[in-house]
């Protein structure tokens, strides 16, 4: 192929290793930072090292209890509540997107009802959210939904609806109609066929869709920034406020929080690897 | 132009031996069919000739030149895939021109040759079409034209007719034969269809389980099968093969078929000669369905059988008979007047019977 095979193979490994190193540098830096005590954070406070010299759980302790031996300042708000807020709103948002998306996708896929949906939901992804947020913010405060779990979950459900809808539509399109027709001939109602025949057939796909949409909701920063104030701030918002409260940068503590925020999507992402392409391209591509 | 010699060629995929020490000489300008059931190693053999797969052992020579280290692109072989592998994103013209373009021929030369090939293939009015829009029959023609246009010395075809409808397949069979005369190339043709092989090839190489069973002209392979596999594989319906044992009946050599009857070899010199080369008493007797006779009279020397089923196929009638628990088939040109359940006598044809060793399956008394 490309010259002789062994040469190509070693070049390939070299390039891939380079890419892997580039990918890992920032990740590893944050990962190890989470376990570094205060003096190791920057060259301003001491010598930099890639691995913590005196590994400590202090950073985690600090963000959860509000105090630690290293730092004199105490924290007035700890991390449990933002973590819980992220979790609850991401899960509920996912539930809304997947339920509404699945129903709509089935209607379009099988009955050709609601043919405006595919493009209408897609346009939800086209515009920068900030360009259309003013009326949403007005509505949310009008309806008393700012800084509430239901308000945030609802908007999460809406912005990830396109992904859920398109993913489920391509999955439904792949289920042969003949199977449903067989059940219809047996005398099942249309809804029973959907519930008892088709849905179980796309079970695995549905689960992947849930994980995928969860990742998207979990990753949000902007919407939480706009629609939460105090009680329901999510991890990224809380994380960013850590620094401003302290004056100086809280590198280790924020890295610890960042690590906690980064783990679920990476784990889920690897779990649904074979659906990622399909999800990210709204079902246009398969792997 | 080139001859192809395969010398002790083997291909193993892990534990599986796809091709086992194959020896084959394909002379220049000949049309050779690699024939066998699926999984017999014929496609692997072809891929090795093309260079898509590397042999585990053995050598491939084109005109006595070892091409082992030649990449597929430089072997000068044309290859027609079973599913045609037409470039769906190109027009017919671009498909035909592909081989010439990658060789960086002058534009005018490419144009001339593409138009020539198109008219030969009767694709003139399809040149601007995207190939994704063509019918299967047209795809087939593009596939052949695309490979032929570079004028390769060797042409390899992998079951090129298997996706076509019956009528077009028959048409394409004659067309291929014409083309081969025209191009004067060495053609290797992989197929599992013995009728295709018989009607097209100068020689047939019958393969099974990676092993070459027989290599010869269609007539040879049909009339003098080397073993029971070839005997059974060639012809439709296939040859009747009946286990029997060698005995002597009143001093005359004979074949005993147990309760079904006995066949005296007194009147059949050819069969007798084969019989004499037998090493063991247990044998397999073979006769083609179209050679066998059925009589209702008792006095004829023959084997007792019962008619179980009569199957008219066009002008022919295939009679299924039960002979001591084994089903045999006899093909007749005319209507068959005997009813189902009738007890009849089956008379093997004199001089057209085959005899095989029951153990090895090898034919007895072939020269």
């Amino acid at each position: 192929m490309f010259g002789s095979r062994p040469v190509y193979n070693s070049v390939r490994y070299l390039l891939i290793l380079l890419a892997v190193v580039i990918v890992l540098i920032p990740t590893v830096w944050m990962g190890t930072m989470a376990f570094k005590p205060f003096p190791e954070w920057t060259t301003a406070t001491g010598e930099l090292s890639w691995l913590p010299k005196n590994p400590t759980w202090g950073n985690f302790e600090y963000i959860f209890t509000g105090q630690t031996a290293d730092l004199l300042v105490t924290l007035d708000r700890t991390a449990e509540r933002p973590i819980l807020a992220s979790l609850i709103t991401a899960v509920l948002g996912t539930a809304i997107a997947v339920i509404v998306g699945t129903l709509g996708a089935y209607a379009v896929s099988r009955f050709r009802v609601g043919n405006n949906l595919p493009l209408s939901v897609l346009q939800l992804r086209l515009f920068p959210p900030l360009a259309v947020m003013i009326p949403v913010m007005i509505m949310w405060s009008f309806l008393g939904m700012v800084d509430t779990w239901w308000g945030l979950s609802l908007i999460y459900g809406i912005v990830t609806l396109p992904f859920a809808f398109w993913l489920m539509k391509t999955f439904f399109d792949e289920v042969p109609v003949e199977i449903e027709e067989a059940a219809l001939v047996e005398g099942c109602s249309r809804f029973r066929v959907f519930w008892k025949v088709t849905l179980p057939m796309v079970k695995a796909a549905l689960a992947s869709t849930c994980l995928f949409v969860f990742i998207l909701n979990w990753s949000d920063y902007l919407i939480a920034l706009l629609l939460t104030r105090k009680d329901w701030v999510t991890i990224p918002v809380y994380m960013n406020s850590l620094a401003s409260a302290m004056g100086g940068q809280m590198y280790g503590c924020k890295a610890a929080l960042g690590l906690i925020a980064a783990i679920p999507p990476v784990v889920f992402g690897i779990a649904i690897q074979k659906y990622l392409v399909r999800g990210l391209t709204f079902g246009a591509l398969k792997q | 132009m080139a001859s192809i010699r395969l010398s002790s060629l083997s291909k193993r995929f892990g534990q599986v031996t796809a091709v086992d020490r194959l020896e084959l000489l394909i002379p220049d300008k000949e049309f050779v069919a690699l024939l066998g059931p699926s999984g017999c190693g014929k496609t692997t053999t072809m891929n090795m000739i093309a260079g898509i797969e590397r042999p585990t052992e053995g050598r491939i020579l084109f005109d006595d030149r070892d091409i082992q280290n030649l990449p597929p692109s430089r072997r000068d072989v044309g290859f027609v895939f079973q599913n045609y592998a037409i470039f769906t994103h190109m027009t017919v013209y671009e498909n035909l021109a592909f081989g010439l373009r990658v060789r960086k021929l002058p534009r005018t030369e490419i144009d001339r040759r593409v138009r020539e090939m198109a008219s030969l293939m009767r694709l003139d009015n399809r040149l601007d079409w995207l190939s994704a829009k063509l019918s299967v029959n047209e795809l087939q023609k593009v596939a052949i034209g695309r490979s032929a246009i570079t004028e390769p010395a060797i042409f390899l075809l992998d079951e090129p007719l298997s996706n076509l409808d019956a009528a077009f397949r028959a048409f394409m069979r004659t067309e291929l034969k014409h083309l081969q005369h025209q191009f004067q190339q060495t053609m290797v043709y992989v197929t599992h269809d013995q009728i295709e092989a018989m009607s097209l090839a100068d020689r047939i190489a019958v393969m099974n389980l990676g092993v070459l069973q027989q290599y010869g002209s269609p007539a040879e392979v049909y009339n003098q099968p080397r073993n029971t596999f070839v005997a059974n594989f060639m012809g439709s319906p296939s040859m009747n093969l009946l286990p029997c044992s060698a005995v002597e009946n009143n001093g005359v050599p004979a074949l005993s078929f147990g309760e079904v009857g006995m066949l005296s070899l007194a009147q059949d010199d050819a069969l007798l000669r084969r019989f004499r080369t037998a090493q063991a008493p247990s044998l397999v007797f073979g006769a083609r369905p179209e050679d066998m006779e059925i009589t209702t009279s008792d006095n004829d020397a023959g084997l007792a059988a019962t008619v179980t089923f009569v199957e008219p196929i066009g002008p022919r009638t295939v009679v299924h008979l039960d002979m001591g628990g084994k089903t045999i088939k006899i093909a007749k040109e005319k209507r068959f007047p005997i009813g189902i359940g009738s007890r009849v006598n089956v008379v093997p044809p004199r001089g057209k019977c085959h005899l095989f060793d029951a153990e090895s399956g090898a034919a007895l008394g072939l020269e």
Binding site: N9, W29, F142 | A50, K133
Partner: protein, 326 residues
């Protein structure tokens, strides 16, 4: 609005004679099942859009002390829109955003394509390397932004690394430097989103039929010719999808910027999203933001519409002469 009436139209047709009971049942169920999605769209598209148009024609702001309903009291018709065309900061932020898109997306594309070619055939370790290379795009963008915030500190690891390699004292103030700040942001964006390109392009490349590649080889094409004449043309659609997706997302860039530079130094890295954010929360100019947002909505819709039409044209051209699919 038009959305729902269209559905109802179909529903009504379902009751006409000539429709079997089974079909009617299907239409009824389909209507019910698509209802939540339609209502949600009505809620999030139609009402807000009307509201945005309304507010954008006024001077209303959240601190006016009166509900948006009474915004008409400060009605100014198209003043906001007039202001927008003279707003240098707006056009500057658009330009900066486009610069980021124009630099980052092609680089991400080329890097992704290169990586994809390395991964088309099997080799030991392929799965694990693949998984590692995908991780950046799964990391929460705000967290990724923070990673690079740390990396680019003048007292951070990157300068430390350069210092050690060169032996000099490297102390770039990346994020406060007028020119380097946007470069730092671009590096972060490329780091995070090259994997997405890689993922999509690899899927496309794996979808190129192997037999056609074999056929090309046997027709004498070398690796380079196969890549240009078979692989790339076959991936055209995939490449368009990848580029469009990334361009659309990159145009919205906010999280990385907000965490890394907040648009600074000055407004050197202010993207359009960031500018709008500041207008909304620092300046509280909501009616102006509404006008600005609406303007972008229209501009982007036009762009999308032109793109869609072009794509449909191309598709129609590809399907010009009839015949069976291969």
């Amino acid at each position: 609005m038009t959305a729902t009436t269209a559905t109802e139209g179909k529903h009504r047709r379902g009751k006409k004679p000539g429709v079997t009971p089974l079909e009617a049942e299907g239409l009824r169920l389909g209507f019910l099942m698509s209802l939540p999605a339609q209502l949600l769209l009505l809620f999030i598209v139609v009402f807000p859009l009307l509201m945005q148009v309304y507010v954008s024609l006024t001077y209303w702001g959240p601190l006016d002390g009166e509900s948006w309903i009474y915004a008409y009291s400060s009605l100014n018709w198209f003043d906001n829109y007039g202001e927008l065309f003279a707003d240098g900061r707006f056009w500057g932020s658009i330009g900066r955003t486009l610069l980021i898109v124009v630099v980052c997306v092609p680089i991400e594309f080329l890097l992704g394509l290169g990586l994809a070619t390395l991964f088309v055939d099997r080799f030991p370790g392929r799965r694990i390397f693949y998984s590692i290379l995908l991780t950046p795009m799964m990391i929460v963008p705000a967290v990724a932004g923070y990673m690079f915030f740390m990396m680019f500190q003048s007292t951070g690891p990157l300068n430390d690394l350069f210092s050690r390699i060169t032996g000099l004292t490297v102390d770039f103030v990346w994020l406060s430097d007028n020119d380097l700040a946007i470069v730092a942001v671009m590096i972060a964006d490329i780091w995070q989103w090259t994997p997405l390109m890689f993922l999509i392009l690899l899927a496309g490349m794996m979808g190129v039929p192997e037999d056609q590649l074999k056929a090309a080889t046997l027709l004498g094409a070398n690796a380079w010719q196969r890549f240009w004449r078979i692989v790339l043309p076959k991936m055209k659609m995939v490449m368009i999808i990848a580029l469009v997706l990334r361009a659309v997302e990159c145009f919205k860039i906010f999280d990385l910027l907000f965490v890394m530079t907040k648009g600074g130094p000055g407004i050197q890295t202010e993207s359009i999203s960031l500018y709008i954010y500041k207008l909304t929360f620092a300046d509280l100019e909501w009616s102006y933001v509404a006008a600005l947002g609406l303007f972008m909505l229209i501009a982007l819709s036009l762009l999308a519409w032109v793109g869609l039409v072009a794509m449909q044209r191309a598709q129609a051209r590809a399907q010009a002469p009839g015949g069976a699919e291969a």
